[in-house]
Amino acid sequence: MISEQAKQRMRELAARYPVARSAVMPALYIAQAEEGYVSRAALEAVAEVLNMTVDDVESVATFYTMYYQRPPGKKVIKVCNSISCYLRGCDALIEQLERRLRIKRGETSPDGRYTLLTVECLASCGTAPVLQVNDEFVENLTPELVDRLVDQWEAEFQAEGQSQGRSPAGAGGC
């Protein structure tokens, strides 16, 4: 469910714009931050606050690629595969990530840790190839850097699992 605080933030945003409906995109971000994706509850909360129908909100949400239609992994890895990154060898790095994360592009790992996406140009062509982890950039990628990144993520999940006093599902296979 979407919290009352989140709805309150949506209402404040709606008041900030000349027309309340303009807040639909930031409101969807707020809802997604709570639900992880644009869930039914997210659609209903945004629709309610902005006086739209859920279909209308769905229509807007599905136009933009950054609103997730399904729950994504904890780490969403977006690798640019547009022309400049392509010229600098992004394809091999994507394959490397597919091997290391044991998922294909477009998939989420069964343990819910990773979603691997290929995306269009991320405006980082001067530091290509490039990826984003949960919307933060990692630039000038090399095979070594990709390996280090995956190791680091695995270590983070490991630590998280231990701090919770149990081994996360699927950790043994990594």
Partner: protein
């Protein structure tokens, strides 16, 4: 190294904070504008400076402001939805020197008598959006934005709005639709935004780099700015150099600087990666026509690049060396347009879907010789027929590459594999 304008202070540590920005003359232009100029005088100043839009179309900025209808409320949209493949200047300007942009937004809003300005930041650029938001917050706190700015009686509200993943929202009318909380479909023109724009009000819409240039023009004068560049392409602009060069990156150069200088000069590109031969250059982002290596001495200004058969566009210079399979590269760019087509109009939505499948077939060695002319005919049925320029853009790399490298397409069909690059001269079955 020639004098820099927009990126002059870009690497000053802490320039993204108001205190440092002010040490380097920040917001002096705003104070000058409010103190010394009537709004219309700034419009005239910018007209005189010869500044042209840095988003892609290169429309004279001052003239655009002059077209604004007189009714109120009016709006300013700053287009920071940088998404054109090969372009990464706005991101740098937002991340590193956001106050320069914010100052440009305020001055422009004043010049156009705008009461609410929006900075539409591409969704993927989360850090840039945070930087701009922080700069806006600091500017509010310092009295540069808000009610009665610096005692001038002029008031302005600035809202930073994040996109959420849609290239089409870089098209000005789609951006306004998106700001209004709708799907980012381009709107019918006319009416143009200057007459009926955001929320139906007169709206001025400018690119991030364009507005980042405005403070320097106000500070130093129109003549000073016009002294850079060429007769018709005044000033400097940021060229985004990427692809097969040794030193990719953003380089601010006066307009008219030869392409060769940008790519080969040690201060800039430093030459082709691995010292290979240059094959082709896309001079203005992936929407512009590909130029052959023979155009290496083209001066980078609006007119010369047009004369060479392409467009200066967004300033994204993409370099391809001899090992680049042109069909694969073009396929990659066409996939972009297929994925980013908004779907509103038939030719762009269906045409790009078809083009990608045809290019895939040729690239993978299953094409027919007739596919090459079919590609051109599909491009002809899209170009000039689509609702907005995205459809046209999708065809640029195809038509220009077939013109320049037709034999490479034919090779794919005849031999079932690439002519150059890692997949060259292998049987089709093995090439995957």
């Amino acid at each position: 190294m020639p004098e820099l304008i927009i990126t002059k202070h870009i690497d000053v540590p802490g320039i993204d904070r108001l205190s440092v920005y002010r040490q380097y003359g920040g917001y002096e232009a705003l104070e000058k504008a409010l103190r010394e100029y009537q709004p219309e005088e700034i419009v005239e100043l910018v007209k005189k400076s010869g500044l042209r839009g840095r988003g892609g179309a290169g429309f004279p900025t001052g003239m655009k402001w002059g077209f604004l209808a007189k009714n109120e409320p009016r709006y300013l949209c700053c287009n920071c939805d940088e998404s054109e493949p090969g372009t990464f200047k706005d991101r740098m300007l937002m991340e590193k020197n956001p106050h320069q942009l914010v100052e440009g937004v305020i001055i422009t809003s004043y010049a156009c008598r705008v009461s609410t300005a929006f900075i539409y930041v591409r969704g993927e650029l989360a850090y840039a959006a945070r930087q701009v938001q922080r700069a806006v917050d600091e500017a509010y706190a310092a009295g540069y934005i808000g009610k009665n700015i610096l005692g001038s009686g002029y008031s302005l509200d600035v809202i930073v709005h994040r996109g959420a993943g849609a290239y089409i929202c870089g098209e000005e009318s789609a951006l306004m639709e998106s700001l209004e909380g709708r799907r980012g479909y381009p709107r019918l023109k006319p009416p143009f935004p200057a007459a009926v724009g955001l929320y139906g009000g007169p709206t001025v819409i400018n690119n991030c780099e364009t507005l980042s240039t405005v403070p320097a023009i106000v500070r130093n004068g129109a003549d000073w700015y016009a002294s850079f560049g060429t007769e018709k392409s005044k000033g400097t602009r940021i060229f985004c150099l990427s692809g097969h060069v040794k030193k990719p990156g953003n380089y601010e150069l006066p307009l008219g600087t030869p392409l060769r200088t940008l790519i080969y000069d040690e201060q800039y590109g430093g030459g082709i990666l691995g010292d290979k031969q240059l094959k082709a250059v896309i001079p203005g982002g992936s929407s512009t026509f590909i130029l052959g290596a023979d155009k290496i001495d083209t001066p980078l200004d609006f007119e010369s690049v047009a004369a060479a058969g392409s467009m200066l566009g967004s300033g994204g210079v993409i370099v391809m060396h001899e090992d680049t399979c042109i069909v694969d590269a073009v396929l990659r760019m066409t996939e972009f347009y297929r994925d980013e087509s908004c779907g509103k109009c038939t030719p762009c939505r269906e045409g790009t879907y078809w083009l990608v499948q045809l290019l895939e077939r040729i690239e993978h060695g299953h094409g027919k010789m007739s596919d090459i002319d079919l590609l051109l005919d599909i491009c002809d049925n899209i170009s000039g027929k689509s609702f907005c320029p995205l459809g046209d853009a999708a065809t640029s790399s195809i038509t220009s590459s077939i013109k320049l490298f037709r034999e490479e397409y034919e090779y794919h069909v005849r031999e079932g594999c690439c002519m150059v690059g890692p997949k060259a001269r292998k049987p089709a079955a093995a090439a995957l």
